[in-house]
Every structure is written in C-alpha cells, then in structure tokens.
C-alpha cells in the first residue's frame, strides 16, 4: 500500500485558517473542519463537482455558535455528536443533525483560557476531555449539567505547568501533552500519573490504536514515538528540512499505523514549479513508522479553486502596515480511520482543506 499522495478534492468555504480537521467516526465519510472564522463545517469530500484544478467537496452543514476561532474538534463514536472548543474558553457539544449545541461546558468552572484540544472518552463517549491555555485538563460529563455555561467538570487535572496543547483518550487513560514539555498519562484505573519529559514543548499527540505507543510532536522539529510502558523513545522522525519550533503542527499516525504524517512550518519548495502558488504551498511529511525513513513529501497548494481571488487572500496586511504574503502552513491533519481506501486530509492557514487519497 502506497502512501496516498494524490489530492482528491478541496474543501472550501472557510474565510480564515483552518485549525482543526476531523473525520467522522468509522467509516469516516465526512470531514469536519474548524476554522478561525468561528464556524465548523461539515463536508462530504467524495461527492464532488469537478471544477478545475481540483474537485470540490460538498459543504453539507455549517455549525456556527462559537464566538472565537475553533481550535479543536472531536467526533463521538456514534457520529451523532461532536465536541468543539476554541478561543471562547468553552467546549461545545453539538448535535450533528440539528446543528445545535446540546451542552456548553464553560462559564465559571470552565477553562480560564483558550481551549487547545478536546477529545471524547469514557464508556459510550460520556466524557469530554479538554485541555487549554489555563494549564488544566478538564473532564466534562456529557450526561449531566452543562446547560448554558453551567455544570462543573467531573475533574480538573492541574498538573501541567504550562498550556496543554493536546489531549488524547484511550480506554481509561487520559494523555495530555503540555507546552512545559511533558506528556502526562493519567491512568484512571490504576490511579497513576506517568509523566514523560520531552526536551521541548509538546505540540501534538497521537495515540496508537493499541495505546501502547504515542506519537509526540515537539517543538524541536522532531516527532518521537514513545513506548508508553517504559517511556523509551522507539523512533524519532525528523528531517533537516522540516521545521517545527513555534506552531502547533499536528502529527498523526495513519494507514493502519504504517505512516507518520506531519505538517511543516516551512513552505514547500520541491513541489511542482509550474503551479503559480508553488512558493506558498504547504508541506506534508510522511515517514515510515518502522524504519523512520521519509516516505513522502507532499506539497499542499494554497488552493481555493480557480475563482481568481486566491491571490488577494494570500496577501494580508500585517501589523506593521506592510503587505505580506501568507504561507500555507499545514497545521492540522486527520487520517481516515475505517472505511474503504486510505485517505487523509490536511488543513492549514490557507483555509482550504485538501483531501489526499490513493491515486
């Protein structure tokens, strides 16, 4: 099985950078994108019209309730609900069909800052785990409380010394990666907290399906696969050309855990030079999990279709008043788990989510 490197479609509609992408639960037919324009969009990437240069995924639903940018998304296993969180310090629980929030965890007992990560957990996905800038991980009960900013968290985990950048839940374990460079595994069954120290701030976490290993993306431009039992580093994935030392760039395990896929802060230069947006294209790196060798290096074009206004969007006025060109940094990735064929999508600062598949 080769690495799916062919762009299948583009998901348009966001007017700002996309901070979070997520496939729906198995079979992963739909893609949710959380954008800086405060809305969450539900796409079907496969039903496409075919405008040049890339087919466009169909926008099915827009979920708008956030007052700030959406930074994290998580889809429940039954595909009926999903959770979102972002700059408004609250975690929203949505009903997919009605596009209404059923719970809003926030308010007085909510996060004190931006919420960076959110994940479902517990039996029947009855818990929502969120981690944020206020250095806490909060566990919310979806079954009780949380009317309109009411409800108290089931538990607040306050061990992190710095902002929590990523959380993951597997079984009865909560894994939280923090900017203080620690990956904390809360084992609820054993009542143990295992702290693994990394040399740099943790930007992303991705648990393997058996939860025995975890892929940790740190701000030293390296990805590490840690053995959760011993804390040993099984393999390090890095490339001299890849850089990740300031942004939250997501790294995921994909392809039945054969690949390690991660974004890059640097823009692609090796992409095809014929495209006009070559310099601004983002980059995706893919390593082989076992060998640690680079499998693929994909360029993610700025996208936006051929409506001619992509150039305008790329040029923004910076704080210093000068115009500058935005780079497309691939910050969020999602691998399609389950379903037919291997597929993943990547979103970034361009606001366009590109779906890659086998070609």
């Amino acid at each position: 099985m080769d690495f799916p490197s062919r762009p299948l479609s583009q998901l348009l509609g966001s007017s700002g950078p996309v901070h979070a992408v997520s496939y729906s639960a198995s079979p992963g037919t739909y893609i949710l994108t959380g954008s800086a324009d405060r809305s969450i969009r539900l796409y079907n990437p496969s039903t496409t019209t075919a405008p040049p240069p890339l087919p466009e995924g169909r926008l099915i639903q827009t979920y708008a309730a956030h007052g700030y940018e959406v930074l994290a998304l998580a889809v429940a296993g039954d595909n009926a609900r999903f959770a979102s969180a972002g700059g408004d310090r609250a975690v929203f629980l949505w009903d997919v069909a009605t596009a209404q929030t059923t719970r809003r965890f926030g308010g007085a007992s909510g996060h004190g800052g931006r919420v960076n990560a959110v994940a479902f957990g517990g039996a029947g996905d009855s818990l929502v785990v969120s981690g944020g800038l206020d250095t806490t991980v909060r566990v919310w009960d979806t079954r009780s409380g949380g009317g309109s900013f009411g409800g108290k968290p089931v538990q607040i985990l306050t061990d992190a010394k710095d902002a929590v950048a990523a959380v993951a839940v597997s079984g009865a374990e909560i894994v939280a990666g923090s900017v203080d460079g620690c990956v904390r595994s809360y084992d609820v069954r054993m009542g143990r907290l295992v702290v693994d120290v990394l040399p740099a701030s943790v930007a992303s976490l991705c648990l393997a399906r058996d939860a025995k290993t975890v892929l940790v993306g740190a701000l030293d431009s390296k990805l590490r696969l840690l053995d959760r039992a011993t804390g040993a580093c099984l393999r390090t994935y890095a490339h001299p050309a890849r850089r990740n030392d300031e942004l939250r760039v997501q790294a995921v395990l994909g392809g039945k855990e054969r690949f390690v896929v991660a974004g890059d802060e640097m823009t692609a230069t090796t992409a095809d030079t014929t495209a006009p947006t070559a310099e601004a294209a983002g980059r995706i790196w893919a390593w082989d999990l076992l060998t640690g060798k680079v499998v693929a290096q994909l360029a993610v074009p700025w996208g936006g279709g051929g409506d001619g206004n992509e150039g305008r969007r790329r040029v923004v006025v910076g704080r210093d008043g000068k115009e500058k060109e935005r780079r497309n940094v691939v910050t969020c990735l999602a691998w399609k788990e389950g379903g037919f064929g291997s597929q993943f999508c990547a979103g970034g600062t361009s606001g366009v989510v590109t779906v890659f598949g086998e070609g």
């Binding site: 009960d141 089931v154 607040i156 009542g191 907290l193 295992v194 693994d196 040399p199």
Partner: protein, 727 residues
C-alpha cells in the same frame, strides 16, 4: 268571621277538654296515642340518653355525659387532619394572630370548662386584702414579717446548705453517739458509735406575756375555720386573746426553727369531748366533703371575706358572727388592746403603735442596758500622743541643712552598699593636684594617685581592635559588588581621589581582599574617621546584589552578553558578581535533551480520579482513592516521592548556603583574601547543613494542640460556670 285561634287558646282548650279537673298548675300534655305514658317497660334499644343539649352522649350518663372534640376524639367529622405549617417572608406565621391553633379548651369537656372557669376567679390573698385598710396594721407592725416576707428559702438556709447542712439536722459539728434504734434500745453498746448530725433544737423564743391568762395556759381547742386551722395562715393578724399566745408560738417556731417542713401543731389538748369537729387526726380532711368541687376554697383565708360580709364592722371577732353590744365589745377589746396612757381608747381609725418585737426590743434598746457610769476620779491609763507644735515646724531642706550626715553616713544609715566609685583625685596626676590646690587655695585635697581608668588601661593593639570593631560591617557580596561598580564614570567619589581611595580601601577590607583594616589618617580624629566610614557603608550598601527574581530580571548588559557569548570560565570577576544564579536544571529535562528517554525522563506519582470519573470510564476506583475523600474538581496529582523533585527542592532550599559557598570557593578566585575566609564559610555552611539535619522530628499524624490532655472539669467550671450559687 273566622279567625285563627292563638296557640295558647288552643292548648288551653285542649287541656280543658282532656283534663278538666286541673285547677292549679299546668295540665300534662294530651296523651299521644302513639306514646305509652304508663311507665311501662321500654326496651333498652328504645331508651335514649341525651345530655343537656340534646346530644346523644352516653359517657357519664348520670351527670349528663361529657364530650369534647368530635365525639370525644381529637379529630373532626372529616377525620384527623394535621394542620399545615405555612410561613412565608411576607406572611409570617408568628405574626398571624388569628391562626387556627389548638387551645386546651378544645379538649376539655363541660366539667373541665366549669372547673377552669371557677379557677379563674381572681381574688387577693389574705395578705393583701387589707390593702388600704388598717385592719392588718397591727400584725404588720408587730414583727419584721411585714418587711421581709420570704417565699422561698432564705439566704441563710442556702449558706447552711452549702456548708453541708441538711434539712432536719441541727447546726454544729457532728456528734459521736450510738445509734438510736427504737428496736434495740435495751442494748447499750457503747462501742458502736457513729457520727451524727446534731439534733435540731428549736430555738426558744421568750415571749412576753401579754395576756392575763395563767402560766402555761394554751387556750382550749376550738372549732376553727379550715383556713385558720392550717398553720399556713400563721401570718394573719392576731387579735384574739384566746389565740394570741398560740399564734405567737407558731410564729416563733416557723421563724427560728430550722425545720422547714410544715409544723404540725399538737392539738391534742382538747377541752371536753373530742368530736368529729375537732378531731386531731387530720386537719386537712373535711369530714363532710359533699357537694361539687366548685365550692372548694381556693384562697388562703378566703373565707375571711364571707366573714366580713357577715360582720363587716367587727374585725376583732373571727369565729362567730355574733352580735356584741357596743359596751361589752369595748370592754372585751380593752382586755387585750392597750389603752392610751390616759386610760382612753385610741381615736377611731388609729391603732396603737405596737411595741416592737421581743427579739428586737432586747437587742436594740439602749435604755435597758445603759453603759456603766464612769467614776469621777477615773483617769485613763492611755496617754494620747502629743500633737507636734506648729511653731517648731522644720522644713525638709532646713532639716537637711541642720543634719551633720554626709552621703556616706546616710548610705550607711539606709543600709546601702558602698559604691565602688573612686575619687577624682585617684585619677589626677600629682601635678594636676598641685595645680588644683594652688587655684582653690585648699590644702586638704586628697592625695593624687594618678591612676588610669579601666577603659584606658589598654594596649595599643587592643585599642586598635576596638577601633576596628567600630567600623561598620558589610557583607562580602555587597562589598564586592560595590567595588565592581566603583570603577566607571558614575562611581562614587569620582571627584575626590583621596576619599575614593579610602572608600576603596574600606570596601576591599570588607570584601576580604585586603586583610589590613583601613588606616586612620593621622590628622583626622577618630570620630571623623568613623563618620566617614559610616558614610562609605551607606554608599556601598546601594550596591547590594539583587537576589532571586529581581536579579534575573535586571542584569547588566555587559554581563548578559558575556553570559550568552562566552563560556563560564572566561567571564570576568566583576560580571560574575551580578550574574543571576543559574536555574537548576531538571535532571529529567537534561536526560530528555540528551535523548535518554526511559526511566530518567519518567516519573510516576499517584493520581486521584474522582468517583464519577471512574464511573464514567467504567472502571473500579483505584485502591488508594478513599471514597468521598476527594472533592470533585481538585484532582491534582500528589507527588508521593518523585526522585528528581526532591532533589530539586533540596537544592532550592539550600541555595543561599550554596551561594555563600560558591562565593567563598575558588570559582571567584581572583581575591586571595577570599581563601582566607573560606574555612569559616565552609564551616558555616556545614553548620547550616547540620542544622537542617537536626530539625526536630514532627509527627504529622498528631496535633498536640487538639489531642492534648483535656483540661479538667474544674477549669471549665471556673471559666464558664454560672456564678450564681444556686444548686
């Protein structure tokens, strides 16, 4: 013309027809053919008993039955419905005056109601019936009783009780005697003696005989009213001669005896036949107790009123309302009541001021026991002290002048210790003494000894040491910092080269670079020199190095650049001084930086998930999570024994000491004097470490303040107990 007859005419007609022979009274109603009126048998089921209101109440059929509530229940027709308590902020239940509440009357039947009504009759007791009248004045004036009427026990009784006295006992120490057992009074076993309280001996009240009866005459027993015969009415007025002594006797008994129980008067001295009317057995019993209870007398002396109604004018007669002729009455009165000294009765409306109580009269009368007369030729053995003559007054100052005592003798008189002071001449040189003698002209000055005071009898080295000790001290770091800052343009005393060099010397000495103390310039006085040194001290104190957070925030540009640029070794001395202490590295972080992932980078602590979290994860709570011990939302993991954290804390705790060590050690090696101080500082640091090790062991499981021995109950009583002595 027909008209309707009245009912009365109709009935009269009927009666006339049915019973034509009735002349007096009212004829019985005509016979109802339905009703048999022949007194024949009526079966029980046809008999009906009704109360006075026509209700079928069968209880107490002979007295008309009693009923209360709903058919003698506490319920109602609907059943027993408890009332609901409703109270709101606007409508307070306690403010609701007409709230339905149950009264005792709801549960009382007619008889109880009648009783209650009867008991409501309010009547002043005998003691107050005379209010406004002069009827009782005689008794009131006769004794103290009118003043101090004690309803409860007196303070004296309370005091006696506190001292261990009990009712029925006599006062005094316990007596050892044999037990007086009535059964074995023949056995006089002297060995079996016990301590007994003394017997209660009634106090003998000597009564002045006021009547003209024979000695020992106690009067014949008469039929007295019930209220009078019970001795609770003993305070009532005593007018009758017959009962006068008897009542006085009662008063004495009840006043001075310790027996607080009701004194049962022996009334066995009956005159002629003892009938049922003057039976001695039971005074309280009414042998002819018939009739309803309503007629009971509830007032002490309440029957007086009836008597008064019978004979309102004659208060002297109590027993029988018999008519007494005026003359005879007067004579009778004259027997007991004194006349005025002119032989006449007092005016109407006036009574005699009765002579005071016998007790009082014996106590308080001065005329009875006048002091003995002093003989005319008696002279007291005591001579009053003569008053000082005002003419011979001498002021204190004059007396002091006149005194021949010198301080030494005065001190001897007062017993003071001799001061160790010496004369001034002890310290004068002979030449000075001669000079003084020639100036004053006195020749009797003491010998000059030419001694040296203790403070001045010092060697040169000691004096120098004293001087050095007076130099203001400064800690080494500050001095070093001041030296390092004393080189630039803005350095202190830049304009005065000499002063600057002195300043520098002072700092070097304080920093330990220069072992020799700064030399005092020969032309300046010691005070000036010390003042200048103090000024140096104040000046250099500004350069005290910052510590901790502040130091990390403010760093000089040169040192920071050097810190980033160069290695630690080639940083100059001066920059070293202001460099903030390096942040202690977490060993785990260092291991992670080196890529040594595994046990080094891993630490395991306990984590206490809440029960709900465990429930939602569908796992059993871990063993160390106590049920309900952890409040929700405070799930911070505790560091049980993280190895690196302990090391970190220790490092932090002892950082000042380590810093001191570093200052003294060779890392800042340029001042050689630092080495000289080194051993001292090392031992100092060792002492600190030792002190840390010697910290008293604290048992965290025990709180002495809470679990210490509880104070005794006496302490609590003494503090919080009621100060009143009622027990």
């Amino acid at each position: 013309m027909s008209y309707k007859r009245s009912r009365g005419t109709f009935e009269a007609d009927i009666a006339a027809q049915q019973s034509p022979y009735v002349i007096f009274g009212t004829a019985l109603p005509p016979l109802d053919p339905e009703v048999r009126d022949d007194g024949s048998f009526v079966p029980v089921w046809k008999q009906e008993v009704r109360d006075e209101r026509g209700r079928k109440r069968l209880h107490g059929a002979f007295t008309g039955g009693w009923s209360a509530g709903y058919f003698n229940t506490v319920g109602s027709k609907e059943g027993w419905t408890p009332s609901t308590f409703v109270s709101s902020r606007t409508n307070r239940h306690k403010d609701d005056s007409h709230a339905a509440s149950q009264r005792p009357e709801d549960f009382m039947d007619d008889e109880d109601l009648a009783d209650a009504e009867e008991s409501k009759r309010i009547q002043a007791t005998a003691a107050f019936t005379g209010l406004g009248s002069t009827e009782d004045d005689a008794s009131r004036a006769s004794s103290l009783m009118g003043l101090s009427r004690t309803e409860s026990e007196t303070m004296g009784t309370k005091l006696l009780r506190k001292m261990g006295w009990k009712e029925g006992q006599g006062v005094g120490p316990k007596i050892r005697r044999t037990a007086r057992l009535e059964l074995r009074n023949d056995v006089d076993d002297k060995s079996n003696t016990f301590l007994f309280a003394p017997e209660n001996i009634p106090m003998i009240g000597f009564t002045r005989k006021l009547d003209r009866k024979g000695l020992g005459y106690a009067g014949e027993s008469t039929l007295l009213p019930a209220g009078f015969s019970t001795k609770t009415s003993g305070f009532s007025a005593v007018h009758d001669d017959i009962d006068a002594d008897e009542n006085i006797d009662d008063l004495k008994q009840s006043r001075f005896s310790l027996d607080l129980g009701r004194m049962k008067k022996e009334r066995g001295r009956g005159g002629i036949g003892i009938g049922v009317l003057n039976d001695t057995g039971s005074d309280d019993e009414d042998h002819y107790e018939i009739g309803p209870r309503i007629s009971y007398n509830r007032i002490i002396g309440g029957d007086r009123k009836k008597k008064k109604a019978a004979a309102p004018t004659n208060s002297a007669v109590k027993t029988r309302p018999t008519f007494i002729p005026k003359k005879a009455g007067l004579g009778r009165v004259a027997l007991g009541v004194r006349k005025c000294h002119d032989g006449r009765l007092p005016l109407d409306g006036f009574v005699f001021g009765k002579e005071a109580d016998t007790l009082l009269s014996t106590v308080g009368s001065e005329q009875k026991y006048p002091p003995p007369e002093i003989p005319a030729d008696w002279v007291s053995a005591k001579v009053p002290k003569l008053q000082s003559d005002p003419n011979t007054y001498v002021s204190t100052a004059d007396a002091a002048k006149a005194s021949t005592l010198d301080p030494k003798s005065r001190a001897a008189l007062l017993g003071e210790k001799q001061l160790p002071s010496k004369s001034i001449f002890d310290f004068l040189s002979p030449a000075a003494r001669d000079h003084l003698a020639s100036v004053t002209g006195k020749t009797d000055l003491p010998e000059a000894r030419g001694g040296v005071p203790a403070g001045y009898a010092l060697t040169e080295a000691d004096r120098l040491q004293n001087l050095i000790n007076q130099i203001p001290k400064m800690d080494m770091e500050t001095a070093i910092a001041a030296i390092s800052r004393g080189v630039g343009v803005g350095a202190p005393y830049a304009e005065d080269e000499q002063k600057r060099s002195r300043y520098r010397a002072y700092l070097e000495y304080q920093a330990g670079f220069n072992k020799n103390p700064p030399q005092k310039p020969s032309q300046t006085s010691t005070d000036d020199w010390l003042r200048e040194l103090k000024e140096f001290f104040e000046c250099a104190r500004i350069f005290k190095p910052m510590t901790g957070l502040m130091a990390s925030r403010f760093t000089t540009s040169s040192s920071s650049t050097k810190l980033t640029a160069g290695s630690r070794d080639d940083v100059g001395d001066k920059d070293v001084l202001s460099r903030p202490p390096a942040k202690p590295q977490d060993p785990a972080e260092e291991a992670a930086k080196l890529g040594m992932f595994g046990p080094l980078t891993r630490s395991v602590v306990n984590f206490y998930p809440t029960r709900l979290l465990c429930k939602r994860f569908n796992v059993r709570p871990p063993a160390h999570v106590q049920p309900d011990q952890e409040p929700a939302g405070s799930g911070r993991a505790r560091n049980e024994a993280p190895p690196h954290n302990d090391a970190y804390d220790e490092q932090r705790a002892s950082r000042p000491e380590l810093l001191a060590l570093k200052f003294g050690s060779g890392s800042y090696s340029s001042p050689p004097a630092a080495v000289l101080r080194d051993p001292a500082s090392v031992t100092e640091a060792e002492a600190i470490v030792q002190k840390q090790a010697d910290k008293p062991a604290i048992d965290s499981t025990r709180n002495d303040a809470l679990e210490g021995a509880k104070a005794g109950e006496d302490v609590f009583k003494a503090i919080f107990g009621d100060s009143d002595d009622d027990d």
